[in-house]
């Protein structure tokens, strides 16, 4: 017979996750990813030494959702702000949390150069192929043919250009220590995503360089779908264009070379 003193929590709010109501829409994947980040901060016991940087976009007020110290950055500038913090406090853990408009459009220069410098910072990059907070405009990662508020007839690549595959683009930069593309549509994918996020922070703690996790995500509100339909659309349309998997792992490469 089980005794009460052997009982323990199997699932509870991570300490790093603030006990507040978020401003995310029903079915939005931001909540899952932020929870994963907080679970990792707890498990690595680094919440008290971590400073996060939130972007402009739907997660603009994420400074209220984390219990660690937080800076709010101008649109696209989170990598620069994170660099300033890390250079001032090299012993602290620094992460940015950014969407596709922030990281892959207005902040492209900052994004590429934080990676090129090998800044010991972790970036969580949410790719949901649309501008969420401003009401559903075409993003740098919107798919060819995708209908948005500013591509009402579908994204015409001959006119508006092609989507950017961030991991593939940044793969050639030597400053990147770890880079993986994940998603959070199923329990097994969520577990994989958490493992990748944890590794990204661990590589930072080991001083190996810049680490980036791209999360292929949904935006049911601006895609005009139910959460279930959004996951289905994502699986059928986004994952083929943005294949999941690891792009850079300097430790694995070192092991490979040793062989």
């Amino acid at each position: 017979m089980a005794t009460f003193d052997k009982q323990k929590y199997l699932y509870k709010r991570p300490h790093a996750l603030a006990d507040v109501v978020t401003n995310y829409c029903p079915g939005c994947t931001h909540g899952i990813v932020q929870r994963l980040v907080c679970e990792v901060l707890d498990e690595l016991d680094i919440e008290g030494d971590t400073i996060g940087v939130c972007p402009v976009g739907c997660s603009v007020t994420a400074y209220d959702f984390y219990n660690c110290d937080m800076a709010q950055a101008a649109h696209g500038r989170a990598p620069a702000v994170a660099t300033g913090i890390k250079r001032a406090l090299p012993d602290k853990v620094v992460f940015t949390y950014q969407g596709d408009g922030d990281f892959a459009s207005i902040g492209t220069a900052e994004s590429i150069h934080i990676a090129a410098r090998g800044e010991k910072v972790t970036t969580i990059f949410i790719n949901n192929a649309i501008y969420g907070m401003t009401g559903g405009q075409m993003a740098p990662t919107s798919l060819p043919g995708q209908v948005t508020q500013t591509s009402p007839y579908g994204r015409d690549v001959a006119y508006s250009g092609y989507p950017i595959r961030v991991c593939e683009m940044m793969q050639s930069l030597d400053g990147v220590a770890f880079m993986e593309r994940v998603t959070v549509d199923t329990p097994s994918h969520i577990r994989k995503a958490k493992k990748a996020i944890k590794k990204a922070f661990q590589y930072q703690l080991e001083g190996l360089g810049f680490s980036l996790i791209e999360v292929v995500a949904t935006c049911p509100t601006n895609w005009g779908m139910t959460p279930q339909a959004a996951f289905k659309w994502m699986e059928e349309n986004m994952i083929p264009y943005y294949p999941l998997g690891n792009f850079v792992d300097v430790k694995a490469e070192a092991t490979e070379e040793a062989k």
């Binding site: 300490h15 919440e47 008290g48 030494d49 971590t50 400073i51 940087v53 603009v60 007020t61 400074y63 209220d64 984390y66 219990n67 660690c68 110290d69 937080m70 800076a71 709010q72 950055a73 101008a74 500038r77 990598p79 620069a80 702000v81 994170a82 660099t83 300033g84 913090i85 890390k86 250079r87 001032a88 406090l89 602290k92 220069a109 900052e110 590429i112 150069h113």
Partner: protein, 385 residues
Amino acid sequence: MAKVLMKGNEALAEGAIRAGCRHFFGYPITPQSELAAYMAKRMPKIGGTYLQAESEVSAINMVYGASAAGVRVMTSSSSPGVSLKGEGISYLIGADLPCLIVNVERSGPGLGGIQPSQGDYWMSTRATGHGDGHVLVLAPNSVQEMADFAAKAFELGDRFRMPAMILADGLLGQMMEPVELPEELDLADLPEKPWALTGTKLEREHHIANSLAMEPQDLEDMVLSRRERYRLIKATEQKCEQIMVDDAEVVVVAFGAASRIALSAVNAAREQGIKAGLIRPITLWPYPVDAVKAAAQHAKAFLSVEFSTGQMVEDVRLAVNGKCPVNFFGHTGGIVPDPSEALEAIKLSLERADSGEDFEILPFESKLGLDGSFGKPQAYAERTA
């Protein structure tokens, strides 16, 4: 302490280091390059950070991050680069973060030229970025002051939790003068920043560096409380140098390198028996309104001398408030005025003091013989007809 011969840009860099600055983020631009180069050489030797950013925009946002983390941090640039920093400066103001921004001005607009100018007076004192805020602005006029003002700027910025700017120009940045370097501050004596993002250690509530307020009432409260701080600064921090102003009939107002030309002209006027004096604003924001107002009680005319087509002259007019004419003389495009030209403008100011009308002398018009038609729209129309 023995004096050393230094370039203005290098003196400012050394002054900043001695004021406890250990973090510099910048992007190359003429004519401030020696400042960044000096930092690149010195910082690694003293455990500091010199980081060349990918852009001016990135550099100012690195400053934002380092300032939020609680250290004394600076960036330096020149006019077009400071335009690019405007966004970041606005965020620094909005998040109440102190830092030092150096502008070694060149002439504009656009790419303009790399010669000295004061064309960024409006940008510095009025609108360093979007929104409703200010930065402190200090204007050195010698290599000695380039060395000394970094400490002043950091002290003011930390005390009032806002960015401070040193507005220099290519002349001050590039010229060499003997300078007595300021005392080195002990890093342990720098003011504490209990608001900084240093990690909670799970011992306190989290700190947030932020300029966003979703509720209009919250934002108005934030902006108004900043406004209170600005009032206090205007009441207590106005600084200027006054030379022979007490009995002056013509009060020349000039800042930075232009003030040295203006002083030569004032001295020459005195030799010719003209009662001229000089007010040299040291703080451009807050503007030394009180000194100008006091001088307006006895002056017959004011003359603003600037390396621009007339920007600070508007602040002089606001302070004089119609008591007497406020005239303007300036060169732009990187041309440094000759004191003899400024002397002519002083004489003209006295001659026309009773007219009650302001005038401006720009080189294009003075070449036409100072016939009184300069600056008048109909004169331009006749010339171009």
